[in-house]
């Protein structure tokens, strides 16, 4: 029979006596005064026989027991006693961390420590005036028997304040010099409001960033069990419900967006230092897109070639010249379109004195996607024409054959419509003249159709 549920000293005395008398764990019923239990059990604690040798237990066990005893699990006394009996014969066994009993005790201690920490965090004082001046009163519902053990924290922190913490099991009061205990209380015994609470709620609502909603994470760290006594938690449902709308408002508030020309200049400058993939090491320079930054039409090629790399401009080499001719034949004004590449650095293999173009791999395409996304955010084209499979891969995120996408309208996000066609360099490589003419005509047709889209 223990006088209080968290009384480590009483348990220790009883347990030591029982262990010295070699009482088996199964023969003991532990009870706390005032709590239900075995009606037939007697409160007799055997006196140790004078001849029984005294024994010591490791400090580590005492620390563990001090936490575990605060747990509300009625089995805690028996579990600790079982452990004690084992340690009596073999004290070093306390270090066997994978032992199931040790593990069980560790978990109980961990839950207690967590509850202690949460009490330190979630107690909310309200200020009241009494005859002696201001006093701070909180109502808190701990999960375990931690209040007495946790009083020291509040004593140290709020030593110069007069305060009371009321809990269902036990209340503690500090008058600036002494700590007193009183019976449990109900929420109705605590003050109902505090003017500073409105400020605190205002702070809580404002410091939350609605673009980062992570409700699970919040609930994991601040379990609902504690919410009833925390004023700010009443705001949570509203904050969650309004988050998406606020996030959209944050984004939309900016459209139409400010100075696109400045943004584009700065972006191009940053791109000139790009090291997102290894291609920057061999290329002469970053070849950024160009054209009017309010263009309706955007062309995306695959990557700069030898001449583009030297000139720093897209589509100026042989393929670029063919592209210009086809644009003219399709009746599309290149000067009114924004022309760029999926990959901004020239990738090549050195063969003798010549640099032969080589196809960028998936990682390089992905690394460069950041730039094209930024360009699209500034230019906001309504129609995008993808020239070749690399461009298709970049904007759709998937490597797809041109045949499978050529006659479809592709979804590339943000409301723009996209169509794919061949890259002009493909036309330059066709050996058969007749076929080249057919393919060229089809390319021109694609450009014209895309421009009308």
């Amino acid at each position: 029979m223990l006088p209080r549920p968290d009384d480590i000293d009483a348990w220790r005395d009883a347990a030591r006596a029982l262990a010295m008398a070699d009482v088996a764990p199964a023969d003991i019923v532990w009870r706390v005064e005032g709590e239900g239990g075995d009606l037939f059990g007697t409160a007799a604690t055997p006196r140790p026989t004078p001849t029984a040798p005294a024994f010591a237990v490791p400090r580590r066990f005492v620390d563990l027991a001090q936490s575990v005893i605060l747990h509300r699990d009625p089995e805690r006394f028996a579990l600790l006693y079982t452990m004690l009996c084992r340690l009596k014969d073999d004290p070093a066994r306390i270090d066997d961390e994978s032992d199931p009993l040790r593990r069980r005790l560790d978990l109980l201690a961990k839950e207690v420590r967590r509850d202690i920490h949460k009490m330190r965090a979630f107690v909310r004082f309200r200020e009241v005036e009494d005859a002696d001046g201001e006093r701070f009163v909180a109502f808190f519902e701990p999960e375990h028997h931690i209040v007495r053990a946790n009083a020291g924290f509040f004593l140290h922190r709020f030593a110069t304040m007069r305060w009371s913490i009321l809990t269902p099991e036990l209340s503690i009061h500090w008058d600036g010099t002494t700590l007193t205990e009183a019976p449990g209380a109900t929420r109705a015994d605590a003050p109902g409001d505090d003017p500073v609470e409105a400020l605190w709620k205002g702070y809580y609502a404002s410091i939350f960033n609605p673009a980062r909603l992570k409700v699970d994470m919040m609930v994991k760290e601040m379990p609902r069990r504690y919410w009833a006594n925390m004023p700010e938690t009443a705001l949570i449902p509203g904050l969650i419900a309004g988050a998406r709308a606020r996030e959209i408002a944050m984004v939309e508030h900016t459209a139409p967006r400010g100075d696109g020309a400045t943004a584009w200049e700065k972006l191009r400058e940053e791109a000139s230092h790009c090291t997102r993939c290894p291609l920057h090491k061999c290329a002469t320079q970053t070849v950024f897109g160009e054209g009017p930054i309010d263009a309706d039409l955007m062309f995306v090629g695959e990557q700069p070639g030898d001449q583009e790399d030297l000139a720093g401009k897209p589509f100026v080499g042989p393929a670029g010249q063919l592209f210009d001719r086809a644009m003219a034949d399709a009746g599309v004004d290149r000067a009114r379109a924004y022309v760029t590449n999926a990959v901004k650095h020239f990738k090549y293999e050195q063969r003798g004195k010549r640099r032969i173009h080589s196809k960028p791999n998936a990682g390089e395409v992905k690394a460069c996607r950041w730039w094209i996304d930024q360009e699209r955010r500034i230019v906001r084209p309504k129609r995008i024409i993808l020239l070749g499979t690399t461009a298709v891969h970049s904007l759709t995120g998937k490597a797809q054959s041109l045949v499978s996408v050529r006659d479809r309208v592709l979804d590339v996000g943000d409301g723009a419509t996209a169509r794919a066609t061949v890259h002009p360099s493909y036309l330059l490589r066709l050996p058969d003249r007749e076929q080249a003419e057919v393919e060229y005509a089809r390319f021109v047709e694609d450009l014209a159709a895309a421009a009308r889209l």
Partner: protein
């Protein structure tokens, strides 16, 4: 314009501070108010999160700006000169009173004060220091104070800040210099680095003085930290991890915070406006953890990234590394050294230490290991135990999708 009341100011100046990731209140000197005639507050080794916002972030400190007016025009910043947000300014006394009122009610661990730059760097810094001074000297406040310092403020002011604050920080803002040049053209990367270097020296001097004279005033006992924004410039995860590692090494930082770039109202045209890359931010924190507590080198974290230098989003960086270096596994939990066991996905520092202790007592079976960890499923393919050998599993090509995708939450400081 009508005069704003305290509540309106608080809402404006907290709203303006919500993009800053740091809220930690840990790692400072222990203090308490027991037996003291005046004053209030204590600090323990560990910080306390007094509430959590629905964004999952800890609220430990009253985090506000002194003012959200600013003479700078940094594009990523809601408070930049050209932004159309409502402006407010607290007096030093208002901040002091608010901090004490919140502290007394056990809402917070202390104050994290930052500010837009008004008039001049020195003027702004003076105001920040005055708040901390008043809390410490006039009110004997013993709670936590974190001050954001202004890089080019007078060193004497930084020195005064360090005497009152537990932690000082200077934001590097962006992981790359070209990114900083584009988004914060008035800030200089070299200036920020110089200020961090100066701070490191001051903190070390403080430690030295403390060793020699016990009465020497403490200087920023919780050290310095910094923050960089993720997703607003072209830096990939490899770049970011390397930048962070350099910052830890060179300036002895306690923490590098990553802040997924959020859309801000009235944003500049220079910015990407999309949902903040929260998972990416989370992976960066995990990689930070690997370097700080698990002995991974920056190059090893970089090795876990894909061809584009990005950490995978669907699995954590430790698992990504292990899948790339399968020849390092399986490891025998009954023999492998600590540093090797720390590489097993799903085994944390605590579990590894528990395994080492338990090994003295028994040959560990899979069930024994299971009792020391949260979940054995993730670990199984990578270890050998007395009754377990994963030969069939480790060679499977489809290992990645088979491993349960549970992630440790590492955001909390």
């Amino acid at each position: 314009m009508a005069q704003l009341d305290t509540r309106q100011k608080l809402e404006i100046l907290a709203d303006a501070a919500k993009y800053d990731a740091s809220c930690a209140s840990s790692g400072t000197a222990k203090r308490d108010s027991a037996g003291k005639a005046k004053g209030i507050g204590s600090t323990e080794g560990m910080g306390i999160c007094h509430a959590y916002a629905p964004d999952g972030r800890c609220i430990s400190l009253l985090k506000i700006l002194l003012t959200n007016s600013c003479i700078f025009d940094c594009h990523y910043c809601i408070n930049r000169k050209s932004s159309n947000v409502r402006r407010a300014r607290f007096t030093a006394k208002e901040v002091v009173d608010l901090t004490l009122a919140f502290y007394r009610r056990n809402y917070i661990e202390g104050l994290f004060l930052s500010s837009g730059i008004i008039r001049s760097s020195d003027y702004t810094m003076e105001q920040l220091v005055e708040v901390a001074r008043s809390l410490r000297e006039d009110h004997q406040f013993r709670g936590y104070i974190h001050l954001k310092t202004i890089p080019d403020a007078d060193p004497r002011l930084i020195e005064a800040a360090g005497r009152h604050a537990d932690r000082l920080s200077i934001n590097v803002e962006l992981p790359t210099d070209p990114g900083l040049a584009r988004l914060a053209p008035e800030k200089s990367a070299s200036g920020i680095r110089a200020a961090m270097g100066g701070m490191k020296a001051a903190i070390e001097d403080g430690h030295d003085a403390k060793k020699r004279y016990r009465s020497a005033p403490a200087f920023a006992p919780a050290g310095q930290s910094t923050q960089m924004i993720v997703g607003a410039d072209a830096a990939n995860d490899s770049d970011i991890v390397r930048t962070a590692a350099t910052l830890y090494d060179r300036y002895a930082l306690r923490r590098v915070y990553y802040s997924a770039f959020s859309p801000i109202p009235d944003a500049s045209a220079v910015l990407p406006l999309s949902r903040p890359p929260l998972m990416r931010e989370h992976r960066l924190y995990q990689s930070d953890w690997l370097m700080r507590f698990y002995g991974y080198k920056p190059a090893e974290v970089a090795a876990a990234t894909d061809d584009a230098g990005m950490l995978p989003l669907d699995i954590d960086p430790k698992l990504a590394w292990a899948l790339k270096y399968r020849d390092a596994f399986p490891l025998d939990v009954n023999r492998a050294p600590r540093e090797a066991l720390l590489r097993v996905p799903g085994l944390g520092v605590k579990a590894v230490d528990a395994i080492l202790v338990s090994r003295k007592w028994r040959r560990l079976s899979l069930a024994d290991v299971g009792r020391l960890t949260v979940s054995i499923a993730k670990i199984r393919p990578f270890i050998v135990a007395s009754d377990w050998r994963p030969t069939a599993l480790i060679d499977r090509l489809d290992l990645k999708p088979r491993i349960k995708r549970e992630q440790l939450e590492l955001f909390a400081a």
